[in-house]
Amino acid sequence: MSGTMLYQPGKTFLHRADARAKIAAIIVVLVVALTTTRIDVLVALTAVVVIGLAVLARITPASYAKALLLIIPLVLLLTLLQSLVQGGPALATIGGVSLSRAGVLLGLGIGMRLFAMGICFYGFSVTTSPSDIALALHKVGVPYKFAYLTSFAFRFLPLLQDEARTLLTAMAVRGSAESSSRHPLRRGRAIVRMLFPMLAGSMKRSSDIALSMELRGYSLPGPRTFYRTTSFRTGDALLVVGVVLLAAALLVMQWQLPAPFTEGA
């Protein structure tokens, strides 16, 4: 994890776009990603998301490549499991165990699905400030308390990252090679060791913050005012329409084109 998951102020189209439009766009991408397991459609979807972020928010793949690398072991594991449990023709047979072609395709497809969704969420959190998220959710009818909670979760991320960094440093200062190891398993052990104190610390901190918010009048009945404003502009509408059209194109692609790498293809 790096600090880059957090909101980074900017002036690009996606930074200026209304958070409601961005949430709508994410929902469309999620629907496409979750309704298909066709690898060609999912690769195209991922490509659309990558290009979209590069063009509309100037976010290059380099900025999230590290996070994607963390997902790769999970994708490989999924592919292996699917190739063992799915039936159909074998792609390869190793030591008497046959790896199903359909299973491999399914595993890789799920991997692409994770990539597309992950990159999409990354783009959203990097271009949308927590206050805008709260305001947008409130505007679409979510009660303020819940809207604020959501934005608070985003605000809490940097605090958690800071806490995690300090704990890992505290381990290194006491001679632990694990906490700065490049070996994923060894580093993983340090992270597991760190989780409990980090969660305990976060709970303590959240309860302090909750009390402090209440002491300053949070959740009092009556109308509340907002400092920030948001307006749904033509550009925002175009963003939603554009994403819906792309999604439609992908669905057409799924119906019209035969599935790739199948026996008949």
Binding site: E163, T166, L167, T169, A170, M171, A172, V173, R174, G175, S176, A177, S179, S180, R193, M194, F196, P197, A200, G201, K204
Partner: protein, 295 residues
């Protein structure tokens, strides 16, 4: 100080943070083996940034700046080219907030963590853990979950988990923040015991009375540079210089200086010096005028 006595050697170190703030603007100093050093200065003067250079938590940002550690086995290590955990056996560091450095379910495991990492002898580790728990006044709490300790006890546990490693230098960032006088004393007393074993202790503190009482050397920082450096008596006698960084020497020292009694730092010193003066005036040839009235 000859080369063998030096444990940390800092040359021309500057440090600029990512946001452009220059926290150290050229620091040269050496820390000797067996010193009890207190770094003082107002907030933002560069105290913590300097201390974090002692074990490679931060590295100089100027190419010419170097921080070298002289280890017990005679090696000289440049922190710039060495990973943090390799420096852990030489310089230990205790952060301000104990809750961000305690991550085990029992105090014993917490104390064993560091020594195990640096290859401590398992035969003697149990004894060292008990001794260190005793040193910080937590004896008998070995199997307690740190969650159930008070804030001051957790602070002492965090300090103990570094002291037990037997590092040449233990750096403790604001060990007494938020503690009452009794708890602060317990903390400083454990550090004094550790110091008495021949180890070097470096603290960052705003409590001038405790600094005057425990430290053997005081380094005052201002705007990323060393403002003055010397024994507590030398540093606290420079009242004009210290005023530049809003530091007021301990009250006992100020009072004694006003009364013309140099070298007084603590209330105990002041009582001793004043008793001596009073004894002299009572038994001397020229008693004070009001003494005549009493007689």
């Amino acid at each position: 100080m000859n080369h063998l006595d030096t444990v940390i050697e800092i040359d021309g170190v500057e440090h600029t943070y990512g946001g452009g703030a220059k926290a150290l603007a050229g620091v040269d100093l050496t820390i000797g083996r067996g010193e009890f050093v207190a770094i003082i200065g107002r907030n933002g003067s560069g105290k913590t940034t300097l201390a974090k250079h002692f074990n490679g938590l931060l590295r100089p940002t100027n190419p010419g700046g170097t921080v070298r550690l002289h280890t017990r086995d005679g090696r000289t290590v440049d922190t710039r080219g060495t990973r943090l955990h390799h420096l852990a056996a030489t310089v230990g560091y205790v952060f301000q907030n104990p809750d961000r450095q305690i991550f085990h379910d029992t105090c014993r495991e917490e104390l064993e963590y560091g020594p195990r990492n640096i290859g401590a002898d398992p035969e003697t580790l149990a004894r060292e853990v008990s001794e260190t728990m005793e040193l910080v006044g937590l004896e008998g709490r070995e199997d307690t979950n740190p969650i159930h300790l008070s804030r001051g006890e957790r602070q002492r546990l965090a300090i103990a988990s570094t002291l037990v490693m037997g590092c040449d230098v233990a750096v403790i960032d604001e060990p007494t923040t938020g503690q009452d006088r009794a708890e602060s004393r317990k903390i400083l007393d454990s550090l004094a015991h550790h110091h008495a074993l021949g180890r070097t202790v470096v603290i960052i503190s705003h409590d001038m009375a405790l600094v005057a009482e425990y430290a053997t050397r005081v380094i005052a920082m201002r705007k990323g540079r060393v403002l003055t450096d010397g024994t507590p008596a030398e540093v606290f006698s420079q009242r004009e210089v210290l005023q530049e960084t809003n530091i007021r020497p301990p009250q006992a020292a100020v009072l004694a200086a006003e009364l013309g009694l140099p070298g007084v730092l603590t209330v105990d010193d002041a009582v001793r010096e004043m008793s001596a003066v009073l004894t002299r005036t009572h038994s001397g040839p020229a008693p004070l005028p009001h003494d005549d009235k009493v007689c």
